[in-house]
C-alpha cells in the first residue's frame, strides 16, 4: 500500500472505532475492506456461498445425525482456525472453547499458516527457466522452479523460508503474492535466467507477453505414434519438433510397422532410440518448447543413398500443432517451403484439437499442526491420526483437499474450488485460510474431545442465528467484489 491508508468510522457499536484499510476494529468482528465496513466472522463464508448460489446446509442448525460430511457442497464452518479476512483473530469464539477438566482457557493467540505455500502448474511446452531457478515477484525471491511435469512447468512458491526466513520485504512480497494467487488473482512472476510469466489460477499462462493456448497432446515421439497412420500415403516424412523428444516418422517404430520407407533425413541432436531425438536445439519459446524459429535448422544434409530424392515431401509440426510447415526437396536436396496441402491440414488440426486448453492451476499447501494445538482436542496427535485414518475429514473453505501421508496434517487444496477471497494474512507474515475439521460425534469423543466441544463449534453458528436480528445475508452489491456484508 503506497497510498496513505484511508480510515473509516465503524458504526456497528457505540465505540465507533476508526478502522484503517485492511484492519479490524477493536472487536475483531468488523473490518475495513476497500473502504467498506464488513463483518468478518465465519458467517461471511456462509454468506459467500449463498452469493455464489452454492447449496448451504447449516448442519449445526438442524440436528446433525453424527455422520461424516463428505459432500463438498455442504457448508462446514471454519472452526476458529481460519478466516476470510486479513488480521482477523477469532478471539471472541476461542474463549468459549471448553477443555476437559478446566473451567476456562487462558489464550492469547490463534494459529495461522506460517508453514504454507502454493504449488503452481503452468501448462506450457515453453521453457520458463531451469529447475531450481529462483522465482521472483516484484524483485523479491518467493520460490523456485521445481521438477517439471508432463506438458507443464511447475513452480514451488512461498514456504516458511521466504515468509519469515528472509528479509522483511521478501516476507511481505511472498505473503502478498501467495494471497493473490490463492484468491485467484493474476500475479506476474519472473524467473532468474528465464521467462516472465503471468499466473492466475484457472486462466491460461502468459509467457513473456504471449498467452498460451494449448497444452500439448504428447511429446514429439508420442505424437508420431498417435498420428503415423493418418499421414501414411499423404506425405513422405513427418518431423514433430519437441524440446523433449523430437519424433521422425520414417525412423520411428510407429512408421516401421507401417513399412514407412527411409527418406535419408538427418536430425541434429542426440538420438535416443530410432526416430526419437533428444536436444535437437536449446529450450526456448519457439517450436515445441525449443528455441527454434526455423525448423529446418534442426536438419542436417539429406542422404540420397538412404532415400533422399528431389520432390520428397515433408511435414514439420510442433507438439501443439500451433506451428507447422510443409517442405519439398529441390533438385539439390534442399527443402523448399510450400503451401500445406489440404489433405494434410486435418492431421495438423487434429493435433491441435487433441490439446487441452493451457491453464495455470494453483494448489494451496499448508501444515495445520499449530491450529490443533490451541484446543480442538486435548491430545492433538489423536486428531492427526484421525485425519490420516480418514475418520476426521478436513476441508478448506468447504473444498475437498488432499491430506499428505506421513506425520502432521499437511494439506493441498485447489484454490479454484474455494469461496472467493477465502485467504487473508497476518503481519507475521503468514496466510490465514479457512480450515474445517469434521468428525462424527462418537469419533470425536474417542479422540479425547467431548460432546460439549462439538457443540461449541455450533456456538459460532448458533450465535449467528441468535443475532439474527442484527445479521442478515445480502447479495453482493452490483459491481462490487464483496460477496457478503453484514450490517444491521
Amino acid at each position: 500500500m503506497s497510498q496513505p491508508a484511508p480510515k473509516i468510522r465503524c458504526d456497528a457499536c457505540p465505540v465507533m472505532c476508526f478502522v484503517a484499510e485492511g484492519k479490524t476494529g477493536a472487536c475483531d468482528r468488523y473490518a475495513n475492506l476497500d473502504g467498506q465496513i464488513v463483518r468478518c466472522d465465519p458467517l461471511t463464508i456462509l454468506n459467500r456461498r449463498i452469493a455464489q448460489g452454492g447449496e448451504v446446509t447449516p448442519f449445526l442448525k438442524s440436528e446433525w445425525d453424527g455422520s461424516l460430511v463428505r459432500d463438498d457442497e455442504v457448508f462446514v464452518t471454519a472452526n476458529g482456525a481460519g478466516t476470510t479476512y486479513p488480521d482477523y483473530k477469532p478471539a471472541p469464539f476461542i474463549v468459549s472453547r471448553e477443555v476437559d477438566g478446566v473451567d476456562f482457557v487462558t489464550v492469547v493467540t490463534e494459529a495461522i499458516f506460517s508453514y504454507c505455500g502454493v504449488k503452481v502448474k503452468i501448462d506450457t511446452d515453453r521453457h520458463l527457466g531451469h529447475e531450481g531457478a529462483v522465482v521472483r515477484s516484484a524483485g523479491e525471491a518467493i520460490g523456485h522452479v521445481t521438477t517439471s511435469e508432463y506438458g507443464s512447468q511447475m513452480l514451488s512458491l512461498g514456504g516458511v523460508d521466504h515468509l519469515t526466513g528472509g528479509s522483511k520485504a521478501e516476507g511481505r512480497v511472498t505473503c502478498d503474492s501467495l494471497m493473490k494467487l490463492c484468491n485467484k488473482e493474476a500475479v506476474e512472476l519472473t524467473i532468474d535466467g528465464g521467462s516472465t510469466v503471468v499466473v492466475q489460477a484457472g486462466h491460461a499462462p502468459i509467457v513473456d507477453g504471449h498467452q498460451e493456448e494449448r497444452m500439448r497432446v504428447g511429446c514429439g515421439s508420442a505424437t508420431i505414434g498417435m498420428f503415423a497412420s493418418q499421414w501414411k500415403g499423404l506425405v513422405d516424412e513427418v518431423v514433430v519438433v519437441d524440446d523433449h523428444i523430437t519424433g521422425v516418422v520414417s525412423e520411428h517404430q510407429a512408421g516401421k510397422v507401417l513399412d514407412w520407407p527411409d527418406t535419408g533425413i538427418k536430425i541434429t541432436g542426440r538420438r535416443s532410440t530410432p526416430g526419437r531425438y533428444f536436444q535437437v536445439a536449446e529450450p526456448g519459446l519457439g517450436w515445441g518448447g525449443t528455441n527454434v524459429d526455423d525448423p529446418l535448422s534442426i536438419l542436417g544434409p539429406w542422404n540420397p543413398k538412404k532415400g533422399a530424392k528431389p520432390g520428397l515431401t515433408m511435414l514439420m509440426v510442433s507438439t501443439t500443432g500451433e506451428q507447422f510447415g510443409y517442405f519439398v526437396l529441390d533438385d539439390a536436396l534442399v527443402p523448399q517451403k510450400e503451401e500445406l496441402p489440404d489433405n494434410l491440414r486435418p492431421s495438423v488440426d487434429l493435433i491441435a484439437e487433441n490439446c487441452e486448453p493451457a491453464l495455470c492451476t494453483v494448489l494451496f499447501m499448508g501444515g495445520a499442526g499449530g491450529s490443533l494445538r490451541s484446543g480442538v482436542t486435548e491430545n492433538p496427535v489423536k486428531l492427526t491420526r484421525s485425519v490420516q485414518a480418514l475418520k476426521t475429514s478436513v476441508t478448506c473453505g468447504g473444498a475437498p483437499l488432499y491430506v499428505w501421508p506421513g506425520g502432521g496434517i499437511t494439506v493441498m487444496v485447489d484454490v479454484t474450488r474455494m469461496p472467493e477471497n477465502s485467504f487473508g494474512y497476518v503481519p507475521t507474515p503468514a496466510l490465514v485460510a479457512p480450515l474445517e475439521f469434521t468428525v462424527a460425534r462418537d469419533d470425536y469423543k474417542t479422540l479425547g474431545g467431548h460432546d460439549s466441544a462439538v457443540r461449541s463449534i455450533g456456538d459460532i453458528l448458533e450465535s449467528g442465528g441468535e443475532y439474527g436480528a442484527d445479521i442478515r445475508a445480502i447479495s453482493p452489491p452490483e459491481g462490487s467484489e464483496l460477496n457478503a456484508r453484514t450490517k444491521r
Binding site: A5, K7, D11, A12, C13, P14, V15, M16, C17, F18, V19, A20, K23, G25, A26, C27, D28, K89, A91, P92, V95, S96, E98, V99, G101, V102, D103, F104, V105, T106, V107, V108, T109, A111, I112, S114, Y115, V160, T164, K168, G367, G369, G370, S371, R373, S374, G375, P427, T428, P429, S452, R455, S456, D459, E462, S463, E466, Y467, D470, R488
Partner: protein
C-alpha cells in the same frame, strides 16, 4: 447499531454476553445461577455506553487521583494508579475491569458455589468455601493454574504480543494472578511489555496508530512479529520481565505470574502452575503460534 446481547451457549450452562468489542463468557454454578445470569445481563446492558462516554479520557495517560464517573472506569483508574509513573492509560485495564464489575453483580446472588466472568482471557472469579478454579494455560501445553478459595485472589489475566490487545514486548504469554481481574490485567500487560529485546532485528514492530487509528498507544511501536531468538536472548528477555513481575509481587500488586517466551518459561510469586508437559516443546511447533 448493535445493542448488548445475551445468550446461553449451546451447552445450556454458560452465558455469552456481547456488545461491540466486549465478549464475556460467564459461568455460575449453584442454585443461584439463573438469578446470577439475570443480574449479569442487566448490568451488562449499559456497560459499553458508560465506557464510551468517558472513552477520550480513558485513552489518555493515567494521572494519579483522576476521577471518573462510571463504575468500570473507576475500577480501571484504581488498577492503573500504582503504575502512573510509567506510560500507561486506564484502557490497559478495561477487559479485567469489565469482568470484575460483572462478577460483583453475580456475587450478590445467593447460593453460588462458584462463578467466573471470562473477558477474552482476562477472568474474574468467585469461589465459595472449599471450591477451586482451574485454568488451562494455552501457551504451555498441559499447564494449569489452579486456585482455591483460601487465597485472596479473584483475577487471572493473560497478555502477549500475538493477542487481541497490542503489546510493546515480545512475550508469547504472561499470565498473572491477582486480587481482581483489573489488577491482573494491568500487571500482565506491563510484565509482557517488559519481556523485551529493544531494537532486536528479528522483532517486527509497527506504530500502534497504523494498526488502529485511535489506539491509546499512539505512535508507540507495538510488536507484530517475533522471529528467531537465541537461547541467551530468550533468557535475557524473560529476565527483564521477571524483574518487573518480582517487583509487582513485592509490592503486593499481584500474587504471581507465569512468563513464557518461545520454549522457556519463568514462574514468579505464588506457585500457581500445577503441571507443565515435561517434554521440551519442539521449535517447529512453536513457530506456528
Amino acid at each position: 447499531m448493535e445493542c448488548a446481547q445475551a445468550s446461553l451457549l449451546a451447552d445450556g450452562r454458560r452465558l455469552h454476553l456481547h456488545h461491540g468489542p466486549i465478549d464475556l463468557i460467564v459461568e455460575a454454578s449453584g442454585a443461584g445461577r439463573t438469578d446470577a445470569y439475570v443480574r449479569a445481563t442487566k448490568r451488562f446492558e449499559s456497560i459499553l455506553n458508560e465506557l464510551v462516554a468517558e472513552l477520550p479520557m480513558l485513552r489518555m495517560r493515567a494521572q494519579k487521583g483522576a476521577i471518573f464517573s462510571g463504575a468500570v472506569a473507576r475500577r480501571m483508574q484504581q488498577a492503573v494508579e500504582p503504575y502512573c509513573d510509567k506510560f500507561v492509560t486506564p484502557m490497559i485495564a478495561v477487559a479485567g475491569a469489565v469482568a470484575d464489575e460483572i462478577l460483583e453483580q453475580i456475587q450478590q446472588s445467593p447460593d453460588l458455589e462458584k462463578a467466573y466472568v471470562n473477558n477474552g482471557g482476562d477472568v474474574a472469579f468467585y469461589l465459595a468455601d472449599g471450591q477451586h478454579v482451574s485454568a488451562a494455560i494455552a501457551a504451555l501445553p498441559g499447564g494449569r493454574i489452579t486456585l482455591d478459595s483460601s487465597g485472596s485472589y479473584h483475577g487471572i489475566a493473560t497478555s502477549g504480543w500475538s493477542g487481541r490487545s497490542y503489546s510493546l514486548g515480545i512475550a508469547d504469554s504472561v499470565s498473572v494472578v491477582a486480587k481482581d481481574a483489573a489488577s491482573a490485567d494491568v500487571a500482565a500487560t506491563m510484565i509482557a511489555n517488559a519481556v523485551n529485546l529493544p531494537n532486536h532485528p528479528h522483532v517486527t514492530r509497527v506504530p500502534a496508530v497504523e494498526l488502529s487509528p485511535d489506539s491509546d498507544l499512539g505512535d508507540l511501536d507495538v510488536t507484530t512479529y517475533v522471529g528467531d531468538l537465541s537461547d541467551v536472548e530468550i533468557r535475557s528477555a524473560l529476565h527483564n520481565g521477571s524483574g518487573i513481575a518480582q517487583a509487582c509481587v513485592d509490592q503486593n500488586l499481584i500474587g504471581g505470574a507465569i512468563l513464557q517466551l518461545k520454549q522457556e518459561y519463568r514462574q514468579i510469586g505464588v506457585p500457581v502452575i500445577q503441571q507443565v508437559c515435561s517434554k521440551p516443546i519442539p521449535e517447529q511447533e512453536l513457530s506456528y503460534a
